[in-house]
């Protein structure tokens, strides 16, 4: 009915030129449906993550099953129970920095497992298993580094980066050298297909004491640091226990930090702390944007801003000022219905997506913060959203046991 009216209207406007017509069509176009729906999980899909280079999607469900999907054919490539069904997976992650053929799964059984992707599926046994002894809801975070094109857009040369990298690690200079090499290759924007990730890889995760954040080395399965570090000497430490559990972490490696790892952690009381692991005793800054537990934090590719979602009815877009060490609100979006369990910023930094408890995936213009689309497909809580590294696909994982693939605002190539 509505379309008929619109059509009549358009036809009446035809005389006034096609510009109008196009605009009419654009302004009221309906929200698109998912390009594909991946069915097969038998429990709530907790997380989804794209393979950094190949058309694969990893998804983990609450019954401990990790599935690998072909995003072209929309078929399951392999399926494996990687964590016990009673505990389930809460996070799957993959990143070019840990190696292209690795995927990390975090279960609620207190382990984080790193898997190799072999022909036709996962390795039988995980290459690394970290016993974190954490039994909470916080998803782990791999380290995010400024991507090449994001940096180039900002006028940095990779030389600066390598210079900073010179003092990267606290422990080992050798590592930093390797790291610098790797950074170099990254800057040339060639995704290496090597099977082994080199150098230390870190994950940030909420700790055994749930108000702490721990950083683990993936290669050695050793804990690197606790934030806040339990008091060593006379350094003035603060306690985070009054902030409640750590609900979300995001580790990143900004160019300004001279190669030291930064972690943004969100807590149960709605506050966020910005840690620099060079100073594990005190956070860089403490902010409180939310009134309810912070559930998700995403940092964009340039590491100069991000987006956070919480259990309240707000989405906050913030920017990080590394020189001042401050975090300021760029845009606050209020929602009709509270609860954002997942956020993601597309690698090209144009749009951001949120996964809502209200079954909806929302798309925002990351620059301006205005809403672009409300995607209604899932009929249960959405647990996470994730973008592919080429920015073309988005996956949304939901409690309705499906994963939906979306193609919105595909980047022009």
């Amino acid at each position: 009915m509505a379309t008929i009216v619109k059509l009549q209207h358009i036809s009446s406007f035809r005389g006034k030129g096609t510009r109008n017509l196009i605009r009419e069509g654009m302004s009221k176009r309906p929200t698109p449906d998912p390009v594909a729906v991946l069915r097969g999980h038998r429990a709530s899909v907790m997380d989804a993550s794209f393979h950094p280079s190949r058309p694969l999607l990893f998804t983990g469900s609450a019954d401990g099953e990790l599935r690998i999907w072909d995003t072209v054919q929309h078929r399951t490539v392999s399926s494996a129970c990687v964590h016990s069904a009673a505990h389930g997976i809460i996070c799957v992650a993959s990143s070019p920095f840990i190696g292209a053929n690795k995927v990390i799964s975090q279960g609620r059984d207190g382990t984080v497992k790193c898997w190799d992707i072999e022909d036709g599926g996962l390795s039988r046994n995980p290459s690394v298993t970290i016993k974190t002894n954490t039994y909470h809801f916080c998803k782990l975070s791999l380290v995010k580094k400024p991507s090449a094109h994001a940096l180039q857009a900002e006028g940095h040369s990779y030389h600066d980066e390598t210079e900073f990298r010179g003092t990267f690690d606290l422990e080992s200079l050798d590592d930093s050298k390797e790291k610098a090499e790797r950074g170099l290759t990254e800057c040339s924007n060639v995704v290496r297909e090597d099977t082994h990730a080199e150098g230390p890889n870190y994950v940030a995760i909420a700790g055994e004491l749930s108000h702490e954040v721990e950083v683990w080395d993936l290669n050695t399965a050793e804990r690197l640091v606790q934030l806040p570090q339990s008091s060593v000497g006379g350094s003035p430490n603060i306690s985070t226990s009054e902030r409640g559990m750590c609900m979300a972490v995001q580790a990143f490696l900004p160019t300004e930090s001279q190669g030291s790892l930064n972690v943004l952690a969100g807590y149960e009381d709605g506050s966020m702390l910005w840690w620099d692991i060079r100073h594990p005793g005190v956070p860089v800054t403490s902010i409180k944007f939310h009134s309810e537990p912070v559930l998700s934090i995403s940092i964009d590719e340039s590491c100069r801003g991000g987006i956070s979602g919480a259990a309240d009815n707000k989405i906050v877009m913030f920017s990080l000022d590394h020189s001042m060490g401050s975090c300021v609100v760029k845009k606050e979006i209020s929602l009709e219905r509270p609860g954002i369990s997942g956020t993601s910023i597309r690698p090209d930094g144009k749009i951001a997506a949120t996964a809502g408890w209200d079954h909806r995936v929302r798309i925002y213009n990351y620059h301006k913060g205005n809403a672009l689309a409300i995607l209604k497909y899932h009929h249960a809580t959405c647990n996470s959203v994730s973008y592919s590294s080429d920015s073309k696909l988005m996956a949304s994982a939901s409690e309705d046991r499906t994963v939906a693939l979306w193609e919105l605002y595909p980047p022009k190539t």
Binding site: S27, T31, P34, H367, I374, K412
Partner: protein
Amino acid sequence: MEVASKRRRELEAAVLDKVGEVISAVRSAQRVDQVICALHSLAVLLFPLDYSSLLSGSIDQRYRDQVLSAKVPSEEERWEWWQAFYHGAAYPTLARVLLLDVASNWLACFPLSARVHVYDVFFVRGLSSEVVQTLVPCLQQNASDGHDINYVLSNTERLLVHCLLENDGVLQMAREFCRSEDSISEWTKPTVARLAQMVASIPDKARLRAPVSLSSHLFFKQITIQLLSLAEKRDEKVLDKVSFFSKSDVDDALQFVGETFSRICRRGSADVLLSEISPRILRHVQSLLSSDIDSAVIDVFEAHPGSQFWLKMIEAIKDVYAVERISEQLLHHLVTEHASDVEAYWILWLLFHRTIRHQTSVRSMFVDKFVLWKTFPICCLRWILQFAVLECPPDSNSLTKGHSISGLVDTLQRLLAVWSKKEFVQSASMEQQTYVSAAVGLSLEKMSKEELDETKDVMHLILQGVSCRLESPNHLVRKMASGVALVFSKVIDPKNPLYLDDSCSSDIIDWEFGLATPDKGNLDTSDCTEKDVLKSKASILAPESDFNHTANRGMSNNVKSKTKKLSEFKIADPDEIIDPVTLNNEPVSDIDDDDDNASENSESSSDSSLQPYDLSDDDTDLKRKFSQLVDVVGALRKSDDADGVERALDVAENLVRASPDELRHVASDLVRTLVQVRCSDLAVEGEEESAEDKRQRALVALLVTCPFESLDTLNKLLYSPNVDISQRIMILDVMTDAAQELANAKTVKPKHRTGSLITSISESQPWFLPSGSGPPGATSWKEISDTGTLLNWSSRYERELPSKSGQIKRGKTRRWSLRSSSVQENQMEWSHNKFPVHAAAFMLPAMQGFDKKRHGVDLLDRDFVVLGKLIYMLGVCMKCAAMHPEASALAPPLLDLLRSREVSHHKEAYVRRAVLFAASCILVALHPSYVASSLVEGNLEVSKGLEWVRIWALHVVESDTDRECYTMAMTCLQLHSEMAFQASRALESVETTFKTRSVGLPSNLSQGTIKIPTHKGNIDFV
């Protein structure tokens, strides 16, 4: 003086002698010429005759000489003779001979000219009043003296037409009364009345074959015109003779006019009379109003000579009944002639302002009868109130209040005394109720708060009347109550009007309540266009605000083009259909565009591709959907969670229709909660109706899917003291709907498909190919090359099939098992009446104890609406079980119920209507063979019940005040005769079968009778 009287006596004697001479001559005449001569000898003394024409006639030469030799008297002599002839006994004597003897024996032989000049002339040129007195009795002549009665009568009729109509005889009579002052004889009032009576009786006395112009319609019309011409003629004649009319008492002419008019009214031709009067008086008033509007209107009317006739005419009519008929007809005619309020007021004033002051009968007619007991169009009511109650001239088209309000208060009190009575609501016809309500409302409008306070019991009566109307099942009656209540509240507090009804939100109340408004359609359309205009205005306003918004943001480059666009919208044709949404959207998208451009400028990245999608969002999918009936019951019980109740109501019907296994166990609980949920209290403002609707549909679904369990509970609830009237009514409504649904239940059966069991293989196709049958549009089979080994035993084929027509593709999701239209084609719908099985469960418990008065249950008196609904429901049930054996079993108890006096003679028409409906349903539902067999077997219950239906329907037709009852009773009678006819046919077939079996009819057949009204009369089947 003495000389004069002596001379007159002599003259009279001479005239009498002459007449005697003529009569004897006529009696002894042998030839027609002799008769002509004799008559002529008299005529020539009385009238100036034209001989040439007489001579041209074929009179014999001898007599012609005699005629010619007759002495012609002088003018003066003739006048004296004429006077003596007509005022004395001479004329009646001669007239008798002329009308009887001459007419029957000779008149046929008269040549035409002779008839005109020596016969007709006695009547035509005579004194009209005398002529009438002789002619009219003749109309009733019996065939006695050997006269040819037919000829006598037709001749008399001819003469009457000739005298009274063609020669304005009635007008002449009136003129004769005018001159009575200087004439010889005095007219007494009884004589005038007798004459008027005679004139008016002519059409009734005339024979069937009389000339058409003597038919009452034409005749009265003619004489009315003649008499009314008196009103106009007098203007000229009597202008100088004012004294004539300024006389206080009515003169004889007007007396005659008045008497005649009242006789005409008495004879039921008031409409004919007024169809002539009202245009004339309207014209008169219009001319006066238009000519001289400045000076005091009353003076103008009194001074104008033309008014005098009208001023006195009604006074002259002494007959109260006639006055009433005239006023009624006048009002009706004024409506059809579209008189304005002012004109109508002055017309009424002109006619009645004296009589209403002096005659109490006229006053009570206006103030009492016309307001309380008669019905007129509402504009007439306004005129009546204005004239008789408010007693002052109106402003243009609105009632105006005069100085004295005592009349108004009196009238209002009298109106209210009637209006507030419950009996009036029950027994008065709808028109009457509407009319009185309008009268109450209109006169109430004129009251002020202080005046109301002074009166004693007005407020009390209003409240009483309103409250007893609000209970009525009739929508119209409730509307009347709310109308009056609105007016009342406005009088009490003009700022705070009380709207009892959602529908009447306008300040102007339609006092006709939509009963008679032929040009309502126009109103609607005008309303509609107005709305459209408003809408388009609103839609124009919306972009304007947007425009301001953008302007504030400093986008000055676009301002010009946008103002241009806006002005385009403003001057756009208001009739054009403008979709507000698109109008709103356009500027919005503009803004976005600009925004994007701006950001493009500030940041180098292009975001112009990021056009937002449709951002509308609703939370319908988020609400918890109930999927279990138990949950629904639980949610309905939580009356504090309005949202939950609403959602439960949303799904209830569908869940019930799905008919899950547990339904039988939940049904009773669900019925109870559904009945008791206060859904209209919980629903959002404006959505009470839909919530109510959902509840009822859910209940219907329950009754249909799970009848026995649900009915059990519902019937218990029906007479339970814990439910109120509205719930009882709802229960009955739901049962009615459910019965109908059960009766029309449809089952889908697959059509048996006939296909050949053995397929024939056409020559052209190798046997190993799959057959080409399939849906149209399928491509041909293609062999797929197998990549496998050569030793492949099987060959594979594929082809593309078109998608099915009903299949929907949404996104990438494929949906299977969508029922395509072709599947439906292959299935047939069978309608199957499932109701009869449940009929007893529906009806019997509900029929128990309807007449018991318990706590909160009083069907017979207070809750008569429930009783009506109950009987209606029982009727529907009967209809649904029609022609099934269950109907026959259930009819007797239902008939018993209907027959009980307190039901069938209930004082509310609503109940009686329901009873008539139920009775009709029974008549329809009984199978004729059952009726026949019950007669044969002497089933007294049925036959007596059916006979009662007939008698009772007849009684209703004769005596019921409610018109709808009347029509329903007529239909009922029709159905009864139809049923009786069918039954008699069935009976005949029974008789024949009995005869073939050579078994005599059982003797007790005579106990049952059934009456069939036919054209010949009633035939009793015994």
